[in-house]
């Protein structure tokens, strides 16, 4: 019961599938929260300049995996390597789901971005020239310069998403993790934010990990996908992973993958058509090496 690189079973050592060494790698990670198994045997790597989609239905454990990557949740087993990411001063940055922004928060977009720069330091945020330049530059990069002085709570969902991305980018992180940034956006903003993620990854050599329940908006920009279902994961390129036989094995019941007009439809059949797929990887009862991260 472990994740496998979809192209072949040989890709067990995650880096093999990447063109460049990963800045962060998740190695055989399992998480048990409150006695419940959330995910198991998750394995993938993040390379600079690439967008990786963490795709799965609601409740598949996407947020948990993101929080493990960030170090906010300790994996019960397995290990997350962040040595590569630690080489950049910004390290890891996180954009939580957008509704977390309080509508009445008395901060301008630029204040929020400034906190990304030095919010972890003590003292008051002195308005120096250098700080202003960095903040302006980050806002510019994500196309948010036009509403830099507006209250964050007054902005639309897509605008807030851009500001939060600027907040994440301003400290020049190696990895940016976004939790469902496309949720609750209209189709156009969805497209724009997805394109923005692709551009940010390519231009600034950032590894972007983005969770979504739908694979389609990310198709144009996504290099790789981690598909999460039934507490397990498959990792590979979209072509390798989003295929009927791979997802059928992951879900343990028949899944049709249809490609229509450049879109991908993943249609799991009902439980009635459940097929029994023996776990090829692990004999029953084996538990894998338990190793704590950090």
């Amino acid at each position: 019961m472990r994740s496998e690189a979809a192209g072949g079973r040989a890709a067990g050592s995650g880096g093999a599938a990447l063109g460049r060494p990963p800045v962060l790698s998740v190695e055989d990670v399992g998480v048990v929260l409150g006695g419940r198994l959330i995910v198991e045997g998750v394995r993938f790597g993040l390379a600079p300049g690439e967008v990786t989609g963490l795709i799965g239905p609601n409740g598949a454990g996407k947020t948990t995996v993101l929080r493990v990557v960030l170090g906010l949740v300790r994996p019960t087993s397995g290990l997350v390597r962040r040595e590569g990411a630690a080489r950049r001063p910004g390290g890891l940055a996180y954009v939580p789901q957008q509704h977390l922004v309080d509508a009445e928060l008395p901060l301008r977009a630029r204040d929020l971005v400034g906190l990304g720069l030095d919010g972890h330091r003590l003292g008051i945020p002195l308005p120096t020239r250098r700080r202003r330049e960095l903040v302006d530059e980050a806002l510019e990069r994500v196309g948010a310069a036009g509403f830099a002085d507006d209250r964050i709570g007054r902005l639309s969902g897509g605008q807030q998403q851009r500001v939060l991305l600027a907040h994440a980018l301003v400290a020049r992180p190696a990895v940016v993790v976004l939790d469902e940034p496309l949720a609750n956006l209209d189709v156009r903003s969805e497209q724009e934010v997805a394109e923005l993620l692709g551009r940010v990854a390519a231009e600034h050599e950032v590894a972007v990990l983005v969770s979504a329940h739908d694979v389609n908006p990310l198709l144009p920009v996504m290099s790789r996908v981690v598909y999460l279902a039934e507490g397990r994961a498959v990792w590979g390129t979209t072509e390798e992973v989003v295929r009927s036989e791979v997802l059928t094995r992951l879900y343990r019941h028949h899944v049709d993958v249809l490609r229509v007009h450049g879109r991908i439809l993943v249609v799991p059949a009902g439980p009635a058509t459940r097929v029994d797929v023996p776990d090829p990887d692990r004999p029953p009862g084996s538990d894998g090496g338990v190793e704590q991260v950090r």
């Binding site: 929080r67 960030l70 170090g71 906010l72 910004g90 390290g91 890891l92 940055a93 996180y94 954009v95 939580p96 977390l100 922004v101 309080d102 009445e104 928060l105 008395p106 901060l107 301008r108 204040d111 929020l112 906190l115 030095d118 919010g119 972890h120 330091r121 003590l122 003292g123 008051i124 945020p125 308005p127 002085d149 209250r151 939060l164 907040h167 994440a168 400290a171």
Partner: protein
């Protein structure tokens, strides 16, 4: 009004206003108004207890609001503070009642500790109050960015920054200090008004954090100075004017915000 016997009141009142303005900004930002309501009750009990023992009311207020903060932090560890804070509040109020029952100098003490009193602060009390206020402002300045980041962004700031538990604890210490300085002056029931009203009013209007804190301090100072003056002229309790001024400032801010948008 500016006679020498009023000096202590003016100095202590101003110090408390500054503290309430600064701390209130974060209380409102973080939505912790309930803790800001509960801790002064603890301070009241402590000050009453100190009176029984013949100790400084500031000392008693400090010890008990610290106790209240620890209780809130421990009971509310899993995030939400409301039930823990409510229980702490009732327990502390009850202790306050007991101490006042044991105390011989009953009525004026109760009144001044609960509602504040114009002449309740002599010049001799001011050094302690000013010192605690100063500590408070310095601590708030040091915690400014982490508090702001954590309040505004939650986990997004924790990834790079300090642990949320540490920020939370530091915030409660800050609130404790502020309460200690304020209760002997404005009283336990009205401390809440001075902490929350100016900050809530400014929150509606100010956009940047530094302007927000400065505005909050200015409004709090205005309320306290007006209250002292009116209290002196009418000899009504200062607490009434503080409470009324808080409500008024918030109302005006709402009106302005509405006209503006």
């Amino acid at each position: 009004m500016f006679a020498s016997f009023m000096a202590g009141t003016w100095i202590a009142g101003s110090a408390v206003a500054v503290v309430a303005g600064v701390v209130g900004y974060f209380v409102v930002l973080r939505g912790e108004t309930f803790a800001a309501h509960a801790l002064p009750q603890g301070a009241f009990a402590g000050a009453a207890g100190a009176a029984v023992l013949g100790l400084s009311p500031v000392l008693g207020a400090g010890a008990f609001s610290l106790l209240g903060a620890v209780v809130i932090a421990l009971l509310g560890r899993r995030g939400r503070h409301d039930v823990a804070a409510a229980l702490a509040l009732v327990l502390l109020l009850a202790s306050g009642a007991l101490f006042l029952g044991l105390s011989t100098s009953y009525a004026p003490e109760v009144f001044s500790l609960l509602f504040g009193q114009l002449l309740g602060v002599g010049l001799g009390d001011t050094p302690a109050i000013v010192a605690v206020s100063l500590a408070c402002v310095l601590l708030a300045g040091a915690l400014f960015r982490p508090l702001l980041a954590w309040s505004a962004l939650g986990d997004a700031s924790v990834v790079r920054g300090r642990r949320s538990a540490a920020v939370e604890a530091a915030f409660l210490v800050l609130l404790t200090l502020a309460t200690t300085a304020a209760v002997p002056v404005v009283g336990a029931f009205l401390m809440f008004s001075l902490v929350s009203a100016p900050a809530a009013a400014v929150r509606l209007l100010a956009r940047s954090p530094l302007v927000g804190v400065a505005g909050s301090v200015a409004v709090a100072l205005g309320i306290v100075w007006a209250s002292v003056a009116l209290g002196y002229l009418t000899s009504w309790p200062i607490g009434f004017f503080v409470g009324a001024g808080g409500a008024l400032s918030y109302g005006v801010a709402r009106l302005v915000a509405r006209v503006r948008s």
